[in-house]
Amino acid sequence: MEETDWRFKIAHREAWIGVGLALFNFVWWFGFAYGMGSRPVEEYSYVFGLPDWFFYSCVVGFLLIAVLVIVIVKFFFVEVPFEEEEDSQ
């Protein structure tokens, strides 16, 4: 019996990173939307004309996630071959 494929270790780690990122994404999105958005409308402030809760939750949140994905992929993801080494035709 061979030992665990070395590529699986990398794959498992990257899948967990995906779960972590999604959780962070959710908390950011939820926190700003309902943290700031549940105030009365008169108390909202506006950034570039958009309600503040929306700006931070959806606009900043999206940009932040995009940057995080770039950083994670560039610095933490490892390139591995997908083909089997033993029986390559």
Partner: protein, 486 residues
Amino acid sequence: MNYAVLVPMIGFLLVIFFIGYWASRKLSSSSNFVSDYFLGGRELGGFVLAMTMVATYGSASSFLGGPGTAYTMGFGWVLLAMSQVVTGYFVLMILGKKYAIMARRYKAVTMIDFLKSRYDSTAVVLLSAFSIIIFLFSAMAAQWIGGARLVESLTGLSYNSALFLFAVSVLVYVTIGGFRAVALTDAVQGAVMLVGTLVLLIAVIIAGGGIPNIVNDLINENPNLVTPYGAAGNLSAAYVSSFWILVGVGVVGLPQIAVRAMSYKNSRSMHRALIIGTIVTGFIMLNMHLIGVFARPVLPGIEIGDKVIPLIALETLPPWVAGIVLAAPMAAIMSTVDSLLLLVSSSIVKDVYLNYVKPDATLKTIKRISFGVTGLLGIIVFLLALNPPELLIFLNLFAFGGLEAAFIWPIVLGLYWKWGNKYGAIASMATGIVSYIGLHFYNLENGNLFGVHTVTLPVLLSLTAFIVFSLLIGRKAYNYNISAHK
């Protein structure tokens, strides 16, 4: 008839046909027809991969239904739509490299191939094929209706002729070109969506006199429109958050998305697709739904949600630009339809016919059957769409939710949890589908149970079923290192 709008749209369709034709020439010289027709020979690069995922996912619901609902609900619905940003990276990160490696090891061409090798069970294959055929059929019908409505509102043709025009366009290139044609046209269509939504958003903002002005108009009309709670204040945090499962993380369980996660060339393509996919998904969703909200003060009183985008484009843009911009939702619908069509026919041809009916079919027979089944399916959907139900978006979500509840755990846990076995998979699929359909009707009668979207509970129940049955019956650790039977 509006020729200034029609000409750019027809030009766009011609480009799409040309790509289909070009891809089909590559197909006829192929040595492995099944893998090429249904999977494009596993050679997608990063850009095409990202775009085909975005385009497949960004369907009529995000381009017509979604903005239409944002028009009535306000910013709360844009917030909900932004839960889709997660799909841009989540699917590829979760299925990721392990799925790519295992799919190659199993020589899997469809998602069902993967399940077949992982669980080694006829029941799993037939149950999956059955649910794909049933659920994706309703999704397809919904999309065709959306496409036909769009053609109808642009050309002034009757609904039936519009549907016919749309059906012919889709059928021609899916049938001849297969997955590669679909993926390549998706890339073009994705680019069209990206540019189209941006142009339209800018035009709407200008027409409304700037964002602060538009938001003021909204507050004057109804302050609830700028809160996260919807126009009537009835969008609860729990309900909106449950869309993270339906249109966010649960998308991992959608067969049309999962099949794309095994179609890329190498790790580099996957890495590029992660970045491009996240940015493009977020950008399109944000733009599209903001257009819906901003359209309200500019063009008040639109009754049918699906018509918001076509009407606002015709209102705010010069006709020929509107033609190009409206090619975007057209592109979204076509690319969703073509991938669904291909997927349903792959379930029939590859997963049922080749596995159980005639495993030793000749290449010629397979080709004939593949083209024939794809064409026949298109005709059946066309006939169903002739007499369409009203609520496009909900019909579509019904199919999505059902498939997610059925497949998410057999795929994800099959990939990562060695104790998962066929009893768990069967129980999980059955529980997911049955509880989804049951709860759907319960919620229609009594309002949403616990105030969350229908998909939430079935996903949790199918998880429980998967774990309990895997551990109770035939408990055995799976060895990921041995190759499947060849």
